[in-house]
């Protein structure tokens, strides 16, 4: 089996909570939001890993930390055999070409005062991949490729002339123009209308095939994850609680939280849902993380063990790992 393209080991990102002047003077210890609290995963070439969780679970921070857009607190990120965790910004620059990000909000992802053609051409100039004229040619081709035609006309437009769906195509084009090997797609279709969502997903899929590109696809919507991911990782309060092949995880969720999430998703195909597992309450604050299993206060199956000991990820099925003392089977 080939070496994975991306390997993340025990990645952590803690944000300090702001203290007032008095607290600082009194030397009250700094408290941390443990946004990402030790996650590990691998992504193979051409593979899509869906990272799923509710708001505040740390999935977005995880995506940014993997790209070192946010500096990790601890852990290791290995990209194509190179440990990029400690590289300087200068040393990191060549890797920037090989890994890219697509954001959720197509409105703030583009500079309002930069022509969309220039936005797409600029990455090429930054990495010295093309001269000005050539970069423009490539950008025009890219516009055509993402379906913004006539491309000459679109090149000179500013983002405010475009709809959300069109902007997201520009954002994708800007990321794809560097032919990256790995892309973090952070809720890339959440703000796109349903009728256009599928076409954006198709576009990403076509680039994945063309470049044999890996993706970390971050989403809160399991149904979207099901469509695009080869494997799925479910995050809760900074931890991965379950990870495995998409089909397997969705058919046989082993973690109570995963099952609850799946049950809560509305569906047309299955209009009346069974609701065996009721979970209550809301995700707690990532500053005060519950002891033991962090899901235990909301878990109907929790017992003494869950309150005391934090479960490790264990393999319940081939390639299917779950962090639960009482996995559902």
């Amino acid at each position: 089996m080939s070496e994975p393209l991306l390997k993340v080991e025990n990645l952590k990102k803690y944000f300090p909570v702001k203290r007032g002047i008095i607290e600082a003077l009194r030397k009250v210890p700094v408290r941390y939001v443990r946004a990402v609290d030790g996650i590990s995963f691998e992504i193979k070439r051409g593979e899509v890993l869906g990272l799923i969780g509710e708001s505040g679970c740390g999935k977005t921070t995880a995506g940014r930390t993997v790209l070192r857009l946010i500096e990790p607190t601890a852990g290791r990120i290995v990209f194509d055999g190179t440990d990029i965790t400690a590289l300087s910004r200068e040393e990191l620059r060549p890797f920037r070409r090989r890994m890219q990000i697509i954001f959720q909000d197509p409105y703030s992802s583009l500079s309002p005062r930069m022509k969309i053609g220039d936005a797409i051409a600029h990455p090429l100039l930054v990495h010295g991949l093309a001269e000005k004229d050539e970069a423009k040619e490539i950008a025009l081709k890219m516009l055509r490729r993402v379906g913004l035609t006539p491309e000459e006309e679109f090149y000179d437009r500013y983002p405010h002339h475009l709809s959300g769906g069109q902007r997201q195509r520009v954002v994708i084009a800007r990321a794809m123009v560097l032919k990256p090997e790995f892309v973090v797609a952070d809720e890339a279709v959440s703000m796109i209308d349903v009728s256009m969502r599928a076409s954006i997903l198709e576009l990403l899929e076509s680039f994945r095939e063309e470049y044999n590109m890996s993706q970390l696809f971050i989403t809160h919507d399991i149904a979207v994850g099901k469509l695009i991911a080869d494997r799925i990782a479910v995050m809760y309060l900074g931890k991965i609680v379950e990870i495995g092949p998409t089909e397997e995880v969705l058919k046989n969720p082993a973690h109570p939280y995963t099952r609850a999430l799946i049950q809560a998703v509305p569906s047309i195909a299955r209009r009346k849902r069974e609701k065996k597992l009721r979970i209550t309450g809301e995700v707690p604050n990532a500053v005060n993380i519950p002891s033991g299993c962090r899901f235990h206060p909301r878990c109907p199956l929790a017992d003494e063990l869950c309150r005391e000991r934090e479960p490790e990820l264990v393999e319940v099925e081939k390639n299917h790992f779950v962090a639960c003392h009482h996995p559902l089977r």
Binding site: R64, L67, L69, L92, R93, R96, R97, Q100, I101, F103, D105, S108, S109, L110, S111, P112, R113, M114, H122, P123, V126, H127, Y158, P159, H160, V171, R174, L178
Partner: protein, 282 residues
């Protein structure tokens, strides 16, 4: 969008704010033309003392004459030169200092940013006219010194605005995208942040020019800007005050009106652009 479009587009489109803009631009242009062509437009020598004192406005003296028999209209025309000159220098200086400092401070953050912000905030929160008075007194009365005094008190205005904008732009996804692409810091500032700050700079520019005009007029009203007999609106207003109470209203009336028209012109341009901006770029 080019910066100039923020002025031209609203002029072309029939939308609210167009009236303001038209008014503002025509007033400002008129004063600029007055200043440039003063020697040709002005009917009399503005410093020429005449026997015909306190002549009320008439066809001979459009705005009357003052206590020294000088033609008020000619003094108004020549006076536009000083105020424009001072305000132009002052604004250029404060933009040249304030904008880059604000950009850097906001983008880099850290201790330097905190110290700089504190200094700027202190100056900003202090009555600018009083500070300008102190500086102008120390430097001595001359148009250049007045300009320096005004520039000093308006640096924080630009600094704070640019810094604030930079801070919020820094959190926008497109700046993060620039980092993800691998764009160097100074280029991020130049290509991604600065162009987005400039429209707001334009608004602050027009509004602070309006402010600077009033400050300049204030300083010269207090006798801290030019030495007589140089024609100057603020100074002429001061000279006119005692005579106003005697009923010679035209000595004070016209210089004051001019000061306010010019300030209003810039403020209205600013208001119109601001409205355009707050409508969003969408």
């Amino acid at each position: 969008m080019r910066l100039i479009d923020y002025i031209i587009n609203p002029l072309r489109e029939r939308k609210p704010g167009r009236g303001l803009l038209l008014f503002g631009i025509s007033v400002v242009l008129t004063v600029i033309i007055m200043a440039i062509f003063a020697p040709w437009i002005s009917p009399y020598n503005p410093t020429q003392i005449g026997a015909d004192v306190f002549a009320p406005p008439s066809s001979k003296h459009l705005m009357g004459t003052n206590n020294l028999g000088q033609d008020v209209f000619s003094r108004i025309i020549w006076g536009s030169r000083i105020i424009l000159y001072v305000v132009a220098i002052a604004t250029t200086l404060s933009i040249l200092v304030g904008v880059p400092l604000g950009l850097l401070s906001g983008y880099r953050g850290g201790k330097v940013d905190r110290a700089l912000s504190m200094i700027m905030d202190s100056i900003y929160s202090f009555p600018s006219l009083i500070l300008a008075i102190v500086i102008a007194v120390v430097l001595g009365p001359s148009p250049v010194n007045t300009a320096i005094a005004i520039a000093f008190v308006y640096v924080p205005t630009y600094f704070r605005m640019v810094r604030g904008q930079t801070l919020s732009l820094k959190n926008q996804l497109f700046v993060e995208a620039a980092r993800a692409i691998g764009v160097k810091d100074w280029e991020t500032m130049r290509k991604y942040i600065l162009p987005n700050v400039l429209p707001t700079v334009l608004v602050v520019f027009t509004l602070s020019v309006a402010d600077a005009i009033l400050t300049e007029a204030g300083l010269s009203f207090l006798g801290l800007s030019v030495t007589p007999p140089t024609p100057d609106w603020g100074y002429d207003l001061r000279v006119g005050q005692p005579f106003l109470l005697d009923g010679y209203w035209w000595l004070a009336f016209f210089p004051g009106i001019m000061i306010m028209l010019l300030a209003m012109g810039f403020a209205m341009i600013g208001e119109a652009i601001n409205e355009r901006l707050s409508l969003g770029t969408r």
